[in-house]
């Protein structure tokens, strides 16, 4: 009964696709797939929101893309580079092209804000620069610029564990953009924040990624926020994509199909 609307997806774009996923399967235990053959193309600009109930594999899908989780089968192409099966240096070079923002920020709490932001360059700088914190001047200036952009310029030398949740997520966004990513993955970036801060952080994420021309895939629980900021909604349930289209096409019956039940609407 699930209504799949793949045809309406705004993938046809003169910029081409940033990411192509074909037949992605992930099984944590053999025979019990969490992702049951995902096909997804993501345009090279704008926000794509993935919605769906908890435990449906949204987070696994994102983590398969930068290989924090090892996919079982399928293909993932980032601007033509096949990501599955990459190892060692090649995998690291691919990862630095993919920024990630985490639900619980995942800042290194005992390092300063500046070190956390600069750690976005770890995929680029040589080891000795990383250990000695001797980053190239351009990196440091960009880090300051990003800290300005996320509204935390005077916090550069504070330790990350001294920040509030909203502030930490702003640093998390700065760290991800520091990579100059070709795509940004955001895994429930607002779920640990209060409603007002959540909107502010999402607004910031949308504004900065638009300014830097970075496409975003975002896992999000809040359907209203997803509709407000995304240009495309992907609805997942039980490890499969069951809705894919612009926010204005998302109807009540789709939400019922995605989340199940109807009383809650």
């Amino acid at each position: 009964m699930s209504a799949t609307l793949t045809a309406a997806a705004p993938t046809a774009n003169n910029l081409g696709n940033a990411l192509e996923i074909r037949g992605l399967v992930k099984e944590y235990a053999a025979g019990k797939p969490v992702l049951k053959g995902i096909d997804l193309s993501v345009a090279a600009e704008g926000i794509t929101a993935i919605i769906g109930p908890s435990g449906t594999g949204k987070s696994t899908l994102l983590r398969c893309i930068n290989r924090l989780v090892e996919p079982t089968r399928g293909e993932i192409r980032l601007r033509g580079t096949e990501l599955t099966g990459l190892r060692g240096k090649e995998l690291r070079l691919a990862r630095r092209r993919i920024g990630m923002v985490f639900q619980e920020y995942n800042l290194v709490e005992r390092l300063t804000v500046m070190e956390n932001v600069l750690s976005g360059r770890l995929g680029y700088v040589p080891l000795w620069r990383a250990w000695l914190r001797k980053y190239p001047e351009a990196d440091i200036q960009r880090a300051f610029m990003l800290l300005d952009a996320v509204g935390l310029p005077e916090h550069a030398t504070r330790r990350a564990d001294a920040l509030s949740g909203g502030q930490r997520q702003r640093v998390g966004i700065a760290r991800a953009l520091m990579q100059r990513p070709e795509i940004l993955l955001a895994d429930e970036p607002t779920s640990s924040l209060d409603p007002r801060t959540a909107v502010e952080v999402l607004e910031l994420l949308a504004r900065l990624t638009a300014a830097e021309n970075v496409p975003v895939i975002i896992n999000i629980h809040n359907v209203e926020l997803a509709k407000r900021y995304a240009r495309r909604i992907v609805g997942m349930s039980g490890g499969s994509v069951i809705f894919d289209g612009p926010p204005e096409d998302l109807r009540t019956h789709h939400l019922q199909a995605i989340y199940g039940g109807e009383d809650w609407l």
Binding site: M114, A138, Q141, R142, M145, A156
Partner: protein
């Protein structure tokens, strides 16, 4: 690549806006440098003045390998009865030493705990004897007791006991000082004697700590008692010393294996008992 941030360095119009970032403030850097300097200076001093003969150092890996080759295979024939009996004696020394240590440590801990014993000079005296006991190593205690009792296991038991008193007494008195005053007051208000107050008001509060300390120290004492024989205080160390002095390396290795096994078994027993008791 960096199109958004910095144009070229020369003639940069926003140069005054450039911000500096270093990991540490100059003060921090200075103090870190000072600490590192001290560490390096200490090591350099040690290396330069210590009596290390370069030929020995160069020779060391070869000699160690030679030793290990001569130790292999261990000669199992040496195990029974000699090593076996020495092992049992070692365990007796460790266990009796621990028991005896508690006989000494409990009164000292009661005297050292400021909430139990309110007489200041007694506190200080008890604390001092605990510190003195800790500062003298078990082998040194063993030397002293060998001088007193003559060679044999008796010296070992006393060495173990006197060495662990310092640690056990300190830990016990700390546990005593952490007990809450409420239950004791309640018992005193009900007219309980000092003994009953201790037994029913304080003992239940320190009991878990007590068993934890006892098990922990028995484990340590098993390790320690294995070497006491080197100075003549009984146990398996005596056999080890013997074997080494006669260059019977296959006997040395069986003794070492026996010690290793006992130490590991003791550790397993203690971990099991602890998880059951606490």
């Amino acid at each position: 690549m960096n199109s958004m941030t910095s144009p070229s360095f020369s003639g940069d119009p926003v140069a005054p806006l450039r911000r500096e970032w270093t990991r540490h403030t100059p003060g921090q850097r200075l103090s870190r440098f000072a600490v590192w300097l001290c560490c390096v200076a200490a090591v350099v001093w040690a290396v330069r003045s210590i009596d290390i003969i370069p030929e020995f150092l160069a020779d060391a890996p070869e000699q160690m390998a030679d030793l290990l080759i001569r130790m292999w295979p261990p000669n199992v024939a040496h195990y029974y009865p000699e090593v076996h009996h020495a092992l049992i004696e070692t365990l007796h020394i460790a266990t009796l030493g621990t028991l005896f240590c508690f006989v000494l440590a409990v009164p000292l801990a009661l005297m050292a705990a400021r909430n139990v014993c309110t007489i200041r000079p007694l506190n200080v005296a008890a604390q001092f004897s605990l510190v003195a006991s800790r500062s003298v190593n078990s082998l040194v205690w063993a030397l002293l007791f060998v001088a007193i009792f003559g060679p044999g296991a008796a010296a070992g038991v006393f060495a173990i006991a006197f060495r662990s008193v310092g640690f056990v007494g300190k830990l016990l008195s700390e546990a005593l000082e952490e007990t809450s005053h409420g239950p004791r007051e309640a018992l005193r208000a009900a007219g309980a004697s000092w003994g009953a107050e201790m037994l029913k008001g304080v003992w239940p509060q320190v009991q878990p700590a007590f068993w934890g300390i006892a098990l922990f120290h028995w484990d340590i004492n098993v390790r320690e008692s294995a070497v006491l024989g080197l100075v003549g205080a009984g146990g398996i160390g005596l056999v080890l010393d013997d074997a080494i002095n006669f260059f019977q390396w296959d006997r040395v290795s069986i003794v070492l294996l026996a010690i290793l096994a006992v130490v590991l078994v003791a550790e397993v027993i203690v971990t099991r008992l602890r998880s059951r008791l606490l």
